[in-house]
């Protein structure tokens, strides 16, 4: 698979297969194509050549990428990207706006998720009243609200101190395991990648090597 953003070849001949329920860490220096790979997997960018498939569905056959993302993918970002004027609970509900279904059910699920993530006391707090770790937990709940099959996390612990980073990582990997979700995480942090089932190391848009975290 190839991807170029019009100026540079961000991905060059990437060939990668990820199993359902697998936790994959993508590592590599800045500009190595980690985030580009994540964006292509997440249908935020289309490859300039090559093909991706998700559970036997070819990406090129996806008619509505938004709908595909909503049904299959949960995104988590390094800087949380919460909406500052909405409470934690409302932030989690945002992805359901425009979805078929009852508002109160979405709300109840959002509440359950936040409580599950240890934010029972923070449901109605605004992001500026939450710590970094709490914000990222809200973002995790938001990524899970539509019951995705795959979580794509771009440096989810990059803005957190080590205590919060460990906590967020625990939560993510536990939930992924419990629910059988595929977790693909871009990271710089060796302690983070060490938790993954597999590490994909990238350089200059290519996969340098791929190996199990413990091998």
């Amino acid at each position: 698979m190839h991807f170029d953003d019009g100026q540079t070849k961000a991905l060059n001949g990437v060939d990668l297969e990820i199993g359902a329920g697998e936790f994959v860490a993508i590592v590599g220096p800045s500009g190595s194509g980690k985030s580009s790979l994540l964006n292509v997997i997440g249908t935020l960018d289309a490859p300039s050549s090559g093909e991706l498939t998700f559970q036997e569905q070819a990406y090129s056959k996806i008619r509505d990428a938004s709908l595909f993302r909503r049904e299959n993918i949960g995104f988590i970002f390094q800087s949380f990207h919460l909406i500052p004027t909405l409470s934690a609970l409302d932030n989690v509900v945002v992805p359901t706006i425009g979805c078929a279904g009852s508002e109160s059910e979405f709300r109840a699920r959002a509440e359950d998720l936040l409580i599950q993530l240890g934010l029972r006391e923070r449901l109605h707090h605004f992001p500026n009243k939450l710590s970094g770790g709490e914000r990222q937990r809200v973002a995790i709940a938001r990524a899970l609200i539509n019951r995705p099959r795959m979580i794509l996390a771009d440096e989810p612990t990059g803005s957190l101190d080590s205590v919060n980073a460990t906590q967020v990582l625990d939560i993510l990997s536990n939930i992924a395991k419990q629910e059988g979700l595929t977790l693909i995480m871009v990271t710089h942090d060796a302690t983070v990648s060490a938790r993954a089932d597999r590490i994909v190391k990238m350089r200059d848009g290519k996969i340098e090597n791929t190996h199990g975290a413990t091998s």
Binding site: N39, L44, E71
Partner: protein, 375 residues
């Protein structure tokens, strides 16, 4: 959390900008409301005056485009009209806008044929009517009495002649309430237009049909070249001032809509440019592009709808104020109605959609990966 609440929340995030946009729309809508209600009221008020008098058809000069049709010698025209079948009564009317008091604005002075049906619809509140054709007296409308600070027994000087006020009347038409009324003979005398009238009022037989009225119109066209018989509605609509005020109100609607849409356009364009990354996040989270469009258009409709509602209040306030300032009293009688307010709100929604559509489409077409990188 639903789309509407989210849209409200987004507007609330930038209160100053939202308020400024709402104010700009409100001012435009206020101008629309004030000018339109006055223009329509102006037309309706004249029509009401004509209708209240019980006039079925009005004969006037074809070329007459002034507020009051230009005067003509009535004798022969009147005789021709009286000879037509179904015509019951033909009475002349002379009308002038005159200054009767140094410290008040000009008022309408009407001269009506003594003893004619025209007087029948007025209600005498005080004093008496003129006793004969040549009596040099006036009766004044209740509003004119207030404006001129005159009451029964007082005197007014009109075109150099001294008139005693012998009575005060009330009419259902505001133009008549604000006017001075004398016999036609006196009006012709003081304005130096002997034998002349502005219009001839025709009352037809009670059983006359629409076809009979049309027949009279056709006969007038044939027998009286240069003259035309029209209904009071047609006369009012033909009136230059009515047409001018309606044209002005239409122009205001156009300009206000354009400015309103541009203001919304500018606000929403700024807003989506600031929220580019957030829109990227929403797209990444699985929001459909159509949901983004709905969100932005909802925000612009909320802005313009609130602006429209505030504008209606301001517009009604302005009109009320105008109706009550000395210069305009008795000359305007603005018309407000529920359908009119709904139409104005509809216009507001329309300009919200017009102004918001392009920014909405622009936002929806953002590439999520680019939008997420936006600083």
């Amino acid at each position: 959390m639903n789309l509407f609440r989210f849209a409200l929340d987004n507007l609330y995030r930038r209160p100053a900008r939202s308020m400024l946009t709402i104010s700009a729309i409100a001012l435009g809508i206020a101008a629309v409301v004030a000018l339109t209600s006055i223009a329509w009221g102006f037309e309706a008020s004249w029509q009401k005056a004509n209708d209240a008098r019980g006039t079925d058809l009005i004969v006037t000069r074809i070329a007459s485009e002034n507020t009051m049709p230009s005067p003509f010698r009535s004798e022969k025209v009147q005789q021709t009209l009286e000879a037509m079948p179904q015509v019951k009564e033909v009475v002349g009317l002379l009308s002038e806008m005159l200054t009767v008091s140094e410290d008040s604005p000009p008022v309408f002075v009407f001269g009506w044929v003594y003893g004619s049906y025209l007087w029948d619809h007025l209600k005498l509140m005080d004093g008496r009517w003129p006793n004969e054709r040549m009596e040099q007296v006036v009766v004044i409308g209740s509003l004119a009495s207030e404006m001129l600070h005159k009451k029964t027994g007082d005197h007014v000087e009109i075109e150099g002649a001294n008139f005693e006020i012998v009575g005060i009347f009330e009419s259902s038409a505001v133009v008549e309430n604000g006017a001075l009324l004398m016999t036609l003979d006196q009006a012709q005398k003081i304005t130096d237009k002997p034998g002349k009238v502005n219009v001839l009022n025709i009352k037809v037989d009670a059983n006359a049909s629409e076809a009979d009225m049309n027949a009279i119109k056709a006969q007038v066209r044939q027998a009286l070249p240069g003259f035309v018989a029209i209904t009071s509605g047609e006369l009012v609509r033909k009136n230059a001032v009515v047409r001018l005020s309606k044209a002005m109100s239409n122009a205001t609607i156009l300009v206000a809509s354009l400015v309103g849409a541009l203001v919304v356009f500018n606000t929403m364009l700024m807003s989506i440019s600031e929220r580019t990354r957030e829109i990227g996040v929403l797209l990444a989270l699985g929001w459909q592009r159509s949901t983004i469009i709905k969100l932005i258009v909802s925000e612009s409709i909320i802005l313009s709808l609130v602006g429209g509602a505030v504008g209606i209040l301001i517009g009604v306030g302005i009109t009320w104020g105008l109706e009550h300032i000395e210069l305009m009293r008795g000359k305007i009688d603005a018309i407000f109605s529920l359908p009119f307010f709904f139409a104005v709100l509809g216009l507001s929604v329309l300009l919200g959609i017009l102004g918001g559509l392009y920014p909405a489409v622009k936002a929806a077409r953002l590439l999520p990966s680019n939008a997420l990188r936006h600083e």
